[in-house]
């Protein structure tokens, strides 16, 4: 139903379809993904805009999911008209019907229901159990204890059957596949405890452990649910992204005919027409036509970019002003949009190094659990203890050895860290990003857009004549670099009309160039344009015929840059500034920010060279950068952080991105990363210590299944609570320990 070609054209209400019909409309609910819904005000505006459309009965926005559910009469209005109405209100929306369906939300709800039932059963059975224990020491009638056991059985049996189903299913699947997973011992312990307790209840004895079985289920389900919710969020973000890709494209044949085909049928090399208001169906190069393209989905840049012949356009971006003909270079799963979707999913579902370690430990652990349980049972049988005592001890061992604490130790810390950082506008993209960030001992900043705000202003406009400025701006139009944008802005301010040019080549770290009939035309650094640097200009324009014009810019430092640099230096980090900019500008910025060690005129390869040098000195470097220039450097550094407005490659190359003006995000992410590492190690230690302490006790028969379940739960809760401390902890950047600097490899 994603009729992207009608996005911005007004689609008349299709009333004729329903003429003569007086029956109640058959309401249909459509879900739309909204790209830019951020606050309660947005929610309100979105609902208002939709409700104003004739044929819409109700609209309910969901801020967490960034979606809105619209109930409408399909006879009077369609999703395209709804998207159009939202567009008019300033919101970019897409129909979710074109996105792959995801069942995660259902799985979450299912787990939550089972968790609630297990919680109810655990609370009531504990009530009865505590009475029976208390009764042991006093005057409780044995028949009353038996009645309580029966009541427990009545509550426990359905609860275990219902709440335990996810574990039983998973265990059954593993056994069928001749594998072992952690659900096998869990299922075994729960089933054995329940069946034995039922048997003992029938016989009227005291060895009844329904409480243990249900408590165990309750705590296990809490962990399962938290894990599942994390994955659902990842899937939901990806689903929103993918819904924004175009559903179909108008393919142009070589014989001049055109055909409307679904977007997935497109192949690289094919040409297709994108009309104004349509989303572009594949990554490609513009062949003919010029139009403004809204790239915000890909780059986060809210201003539209002019795309003329030769310019790259990306799948999922919106063609705003005029028809363009595009030759596809990447389609379907090969597009940048699909790549970003995969990265987002991989980052949120991804497993860090510590998590992988915990997983491996758990896998080795499963057979050990069974062997220990079996050994306990046979040991007690051989010593002539009777099968009940032997089985009870074996169940206790199975429960105690459940590696929940071990499995929770690291993910719990990661979830707490991610949610704390997310609230401050920092998104960790690489699965092991935090771990690598924690290891860094040097921070290298880029200047433009990182240390500074990246919004340079042309300050010597009066020295440049209109013709030069217009020609320079025409070249600059095809670049996203902050300086290019400043040149274009200055030209527009003087009511000049820069035109998009074809065949403009952008050299990273150099500038823009283009061949004309009269010779080459260049806009870029002094070296790039072949000028001798007089020390004052940042950019030079050198036209085919005209004399060179110098451009000077002023770019303000981020307000807290100096404070952040001071804090990093005080904590023992080596701070450097690497910039592609000319010496004088870098010197001024370095002085203002208080960075003693700076290097100017470093092109991308020179930046990589410096990073390698630092690495050879045993430094683990965090590169903080922005823009096209820094993508290779970000990838080279031990860990990387990028501003959220950076160009797309930079965003995907960085381990983490931060939004907003304060540079303090650097301090926050380093502090959180280091605290996370400490908490993860503490949790590992806790989990291991617990097992070392309790397993021998359980094997020697000194632990009943209930105590085992409580001990197991306590260890899980201790580990989780330890992780949750991270969320509200006041973190400052502590000095780097001596140890980490002395273990550095010699240069």
């Amino acid at each position: 139903m994603a009729q992207a070609q009608t996005l911005a054209t007004v689609m008349p209400p299709v009333t004729e379809h329903r003429s003569g019909s007086t029956s109640m409309p058959a309401w249909v609910v459509a879900t739309l993904a909204i790209e830019n819904m951020h606050c309660g005000g947005c929610m309100h505006a979105i609902e208002r805009a939709l409700i104003g459309v004739a044929g819409v009965q109700a609209a309910r926005a969901n801020l967490s999911a960034k979606r809105v559910a619209v109930t409408y009469d399909p006879g009077r209005v369609g999703p395209a008209r709804l998207i159009d109405a939202l567009d008019g209100a300033g919101f970019r929306a897409a129909d979710m019907a074109s996105a792959p369906a995801v069942q995660e939300a259902d799985r979450d709800r299912d787990l939550l229901k089972r968790l609630a039932v297990a919680g109810f059963a655990a609370a009531n059975i504990m009530l009865l159990s505590v009475s029976v224990w208390a009764g042991h020491g006093s005057d409780m009638d044995p028949s009353l204890a038996a009645l309580f056991h029966w009541l427990s059985a009545v509550i426990a049996l359905p609860a275990v059957g219902y709440s335990g189903m996810p574990f039983f299913k998973s265990a059954a699947a593993a056994v069928r596949g001749r594998r072992l997973n952690m659900d096998v011992p869990i299922s075994l312990a729960i089933t054995l405890a329940t069946v034995m307790s039922l048997f003992q209840t029938l016989r009227g004895t005291d060895q009844v452990y329904f409480d243990a079985a249900v408590m165990l289920l309750f705590f296990l389900l809490i962990g399962r649910f938290l894990d599942s919710r994390l994955r659902t969020r990842a899937a939901s973000v990806v689903q929103n992204l993918l819904s924004l890709k175009a559903g179909s494209a108008t393919v142009l044949r070589n014989d001049g005919t055109s055909e409307r085909l679904p977007a997935h049928a497109l192949r690289p090399g094919w040409r297709f027409l994108v009309s104004a208001g349509e989303r572009i169906a594949a990554d490609g190069l513009v062949r003919t036509g010029t139009s403004d393209v809204d790239n915000s989905l890909i780059t986060g840049e809210s201003l539209p970019k002019l795309a003329g012949p030769g310019a790259s356009v990306f799948s999922g971006t919106l063609n705003l002003s005029g028809p363009i003909e595009v030759e596809a270079t990447a389609t379907g799963d090969a597009t940048l949009l699909a790549e970003i979707a995969r990265l987002v999913q991989a980052a949120e579902q991804g497993r860090g190094r510590y998590v992988r370690l915990a997983d491996r430990a758990a896998r080795l652990y499963a057979p050990a659990v069974h062997i220990l349980g079996l050994a306990t049972f046979t040991g007690w049988m051989l010593s002539g203890a009777g099968w009940e005592a032997a089985l009870t001890a074996a169940i206790a061992v199975l429960i105690i050895t459940c590696p929940c604490a071990l499995a929770l130790a690291v993910p719990a810390v990661q979830v707490a860290a991610a949610s704390r950082l997310f609230a401050k506008g920092i998104i960790v993209k690489a699965p092991d990003g935090l771990e690598r960030l924690a290891e860094t001992d040097a921070v290298v900043f880029d200047k433009t857009g990182t240390l500074t705000l990246g919004r340079p202003r042309l300050i010597n406009g009066a020295d440049i004549d209109d013709a030069d400025l217009e020609r320079a701006a025409s070249l600059a139009l095809s670049s996203q670099h902050p300086y290019s944008r400043a040149v274009v802005a200055a030209a527009r301010l003087r009511h000049l009309r820069p035109r998009a040019l074809d065949q403009v080549v952008e050299t990273a770290g150099g500038g823009l160039s283009r061949e004309t009939e009269a010779g080459p035309e260049r806009l870029g650094s002094a070296a790039f344009t072949g000028m001798t640097d007089a020390g004052a200009a940042t950019l030079w324009y050198r036209g085919a015929g005209s004399v060179a014009a110098a451009f000077r810019f002023e770019d303000k430092l981020r307000s807290d840059a100096a404070a952040v640099v001071a804090a990093l230096t005080a904590a023992g980090y080596r701070v450097e500034l690497l910039s592609g900019d000319r010496e004088q500008a870098v010197a001024v910025a370095a002085a203002q920010a208080g960075i003693a060690s700076w290097r100017s005129q470093h092109k991308p390869d020179a930046k990589i060279g410096r990073l390698l040098e630092l690495a050879a000195q045993g430094r683990r470097t965090l590169m903080v950068g922005d823009g096209l220039n820094d993508a290779p450097a970000l990838a080279q550094a031990h860990a990387s952080l990028s501003t959220a407005t950076a160009a797309d490659i930079s965003q995907t190359a960085a381990d983490a991105i931060f939004q907003g003006e304060p540079l303090a995000a650097v301090i926050e992410i380093l502090a959180v990363a280091r605290r996370s590492r400490r908490l993860a190690l503490q949790n590992f230690a806790l989990a291991v210590a617990y097992n070392v302490m309790f397993v021998p006790l359980a094997m020697s028969g000194r632990v009943t299944p209930l105590i085992a379940a409580l001990a197991m739960s306590t260890s899980s809760i201790a580990v989780t609570a330890n992780a949750v401390r991270l969320k509200s902890a006041r973190l400052g950047l502590r000095p780097l320990s001596r140890r980490s600097s002395s273990t550095r490899a010699p240069a």
Partner: protein
């Protein structure tokens, strides 16, 4: 001990009520948008609706 004949069903019924309440709130979508719900409380205009 006849009081138990009252107390135990009472405990179960109250617990069951809580469980039923939770399952109902889950089904009616009250946990769907935890961020948005906070904003909605501050929004003093009528919920938009059109027939």
């Amino acid at each position: 001990m006849t009081v138990l004949a009252w107390l135990i069903p009472c405990a179960l019924a109250l617990g069951g009520l809580g469980l039923a309440g939770f399952l109902w709130s889950l089904r009616s979508g009250q946990f769907e948008d935890l961020d948005g719900a906070g904003w909605r409380a501050l929004d003093d205009t009528q919920p938009p609706h059109q027939d």
